[in-house]
């Protein structure tokens, strides 16, 4: 008789301690409910017809476009400015580094309404910064630049942090090998450091985008209404978060829920696209490496 035909003895699993497992399930499950129930409430408050009509409403579309446009610019700004800062923190020990690190953490801990107020005080008419930004064609108050500025302020730290951690994880000896093989410092950065840190940086940029797109506090003060100007051709609108807030304030609960649902659906589709990208091999990362 072959060994495979013999009936296998039952596996002897070590005890898992059921009360302990049950406690974890109850605690973790409660939090999951808190995450999911409000989303459920949003989708079910407005009827599908109302959601569809919100999606077709020009005012909603304008607000959506502005929000995605501004958040896209904020992500590009994070790529341009936050990645170098992360690299600096990771690679060059300098005097006062802990001060810089605290400054990077500041936007995460400061209430965002205060952020808006702070920037507002800097750029109100009469200040030097007002004259400067107006002169160079970047007026901030009630323009898309104001939206972008607030978004970058509150969301760029996630990219700085992710870039810092990712660059730290690159073995300096690999860089030394590249230098010795003939690459100058800039070439070594572009061909070795950056590609090796890219996965973490992209994950950071995704977080930055998610944070930027959901911002309202600072925008309420600095760019409650957005007028055409600079890179934004119009029409007069507001970000989607401000739009929802307005609908809620005016007592239009169904409208607020419908617009929120449209926004959530779009965010969900984007989330799904990243997942599919991870799985398909279109991006050089596996599932779960970009999004949790």
């Amino acid at each position: 008789m072959s060994p495979g035909r013999r009936s296998a003895p039952p596996l002897r699993r070590p005890s898992r301690g059921w009360p302990w497992v049950a406690l974890q399930v109850v605690l973790a499950g409660s939090l999951l409910l808190l995450f999911l129930l409000p989303i459920y409430a949003l989708f079910t408050y407005a009827s599908p017809a109302e959601i569809l009509s919100a999606a077709n409403n020009p005012a909603v579309r304008e607000a959506l476009w502005l929000t995605f446009y501004a958040s896209g610019v904020a992500v590009l700004a994070a790529l341009a400015f936050a990645v170098p800062l992360g690299y600096l923190l990771a690679r060059h020990p300098f005097r006062g580094r802990s001060v810089v690190e605290s400054a990077v953490a500041l936007p995460v801990v400061v209430p965002h309404l205060l952020v808006g107020l702070g920037i507002f005080l800097l750029v109100i008419p009469g200040t030097p910064l007002y004259r400067f930004t107006t002169a160079i064609g970047f007026p901030v108050y009630d323009t898309i630049w104001g939206v972008v500025l607030v978004m970058v302020f509150v969301s760029a730290p996630y990219t700085v942090l992710a870039a810092d951690l990712s660059f730290r994880a690159v073995d300096p000896r690999v860089l030394e090998a590249a230098r010795s093989l003939g690459a100058g410092p800039a070439t070594a950065f572009l061909t070795v450091s950056f590609p090796l840190a890219l996965r973490g940086i992209v994950a950071g940029l995704l977080l930055t985008w998610a944070r930027a797109v959901s911002e309202i506090g600072g925008i309420l003060i600095l760019a409650y209404t957005v007028y055409p100007g600079g890179i934004y051709g119009g029409p007069v609108t507001s970000t989607i978060s401000v739009l929802v807030y307005n609908l809620f304030e005016s007592g239009n609960l169904a409208g607020a829920a419908a617009v929120s649902s449209v926004f959530l659906l779009i965010a969900f589709v984007l989330f799904l696209a990243v997942r599919v990208g991870e799985r398909s091999g279109w991006v050089p990362w596996r599932r779960g490496e970009l999004l949790p």
Binding site: V174, A177, S180, A183
Partner: protein, 337 residues
């Protein structure tokens, strides 16, 4: 063919001083830098490669001091500890990297030729993470040679290699020495492996360097306890251990022949079965079979002495606790210090 020399090189880090180090590096010579962890081996290579500032001294390439050039303009290939391969590139694109950054149009052809030469052609499309230790070594060397270096600095080539791969690496060094005629400086803390490939030895200890010697000189004159142990002397005693020996013992006999830092002698060979004459008697404390016979440790109060007993088919086995007679030939005893 380029001749390199290192003259009085010193490197000053926060709490560590290296040097002065002098090295002559004619074409094809393999120089092994030996020393314990923290002796300054990697510091020396990184200083030569241009990653650490040169406090003093000169690095001469054909008589021209390159000590203030950036790493990419030194014309040397530095293989760091862990090899420093690019995890995000395939084997082929690792090897072609130095050609790509130089904008060489023949990058593809030249790297394929190197892949063939090192038997890596079937692995061209793999990533480093998919290769074995020996394959990684060959990729690192092929990549270093693609840059056409005039000197190769290699940190711990034998690290994390299995027995087979270590053997294959000897052939790689043969390639560097005979075909490429490139001088090589190789860092290791494994003297046995260094002896198998190197022509010259630089010993570092706490940042200071001994003059470069060859293997025969090193074995004939192990200058201090560290070096003696390093090159394979199993019996090394410091003066304090010898001073404790009673008169008439092996210890006091050695004390007369010791230098200021003690004495070293190779494993005395005992005839098959442990029979025969001998001036000293020890008590066996450990026995281990080896291809060359038995490696035996005996206690000769207050010393422990390592011996070699020739293989003896049919002889009574040597047991722990048994007495064993042996001689220490005077010619094998080296004063230290």
């Amino acid at each position: 063919m380029t001749t390199w020399s290192v003259e009085g090189v010193e490197s000053a880090l926060d709490r560590f001083h290296l040097g002065p180090v002098d090295l002559a590096l004619p074409p094809g010579r393999v120089t092994a830098v030996l020393g314990n962890s923290g002796a300054g081996k990697t510091t020396l290579l990184r200083t030569l490669a241009g990653f650490l500032p040169l406090a003093r001294g000169r690095i001469l390439r054909d008589g021209v001091d390159i000590g203030d050039r950036p790493p990419e303009h030194r014309g040397l290939g530095y293989v760091p500890q862990g090899l420093g391969l690019f995890a995000h590139r395939t084997v082929e694109r690792n090897v072609s990297y130095p050609l790509e950054v130089r904008g060489r149009l023949d990058a593809r052809d030249r790297s394929r030729e190197l892949l063939r030469r090192f038997g890596l052609a079937p692995l061209a499309g793999r990533r480093p993470v998919q290769l074995s230790g020996g394959e990684l070594q060959r990729v690192a060397l092929a990549r270093a040679l693609a840059a056409e270096p005039e000197l190769v600095l290699w940190d711990e080539p034998w690290q994390a290699l299995d027995v087979e791969a270590r053997h294959a690496l000897d052939l790689v060094f043969e390639e560097l020495r005979a075909t490429e005629r490139i001088p090589v400086v190789v860092v290791t803390h494994d003297p046995t492996l260094a002896f198998s490939v190197a022509d010259a030895f630089l010993i570092l200890r706490g940042g200071s360097a001994r003059p470069v010697t060859d293997a025969a000189t090193l074995l004939a004159h192990p200058f201090d306890p560290f070096t003696a142990r390093f090159v394979g002397f199993d019996n090394v005693y410091d003066p304090a251990a010898l001073a404790a020996a009673p008169p008439g013992s092996l210890g006091s006999w050695l004390a007369v022949r010791a230098g200021p830092e003690g004495v070293a002698f190779a494993r005395p060979l005992v005839a098959a079965g442990g029979a025969g004459p001998g001036g000293w008697t020890g008590v066996v404390v450990a026995v281990r079979p080896t291809p060359e016979g038995l490696a035996v440790t005996v206690r000769v109060d207050p010393l422990r002495v390592a011996l070699r007993v020739a293989p003896a088919p049919g002889a009574a086995p040597l047991v722990v606790g048994a007495p064993l007679r042996f001689d220490v030939p005077e010619a094998t005893v080296h004063p230290l210090g």
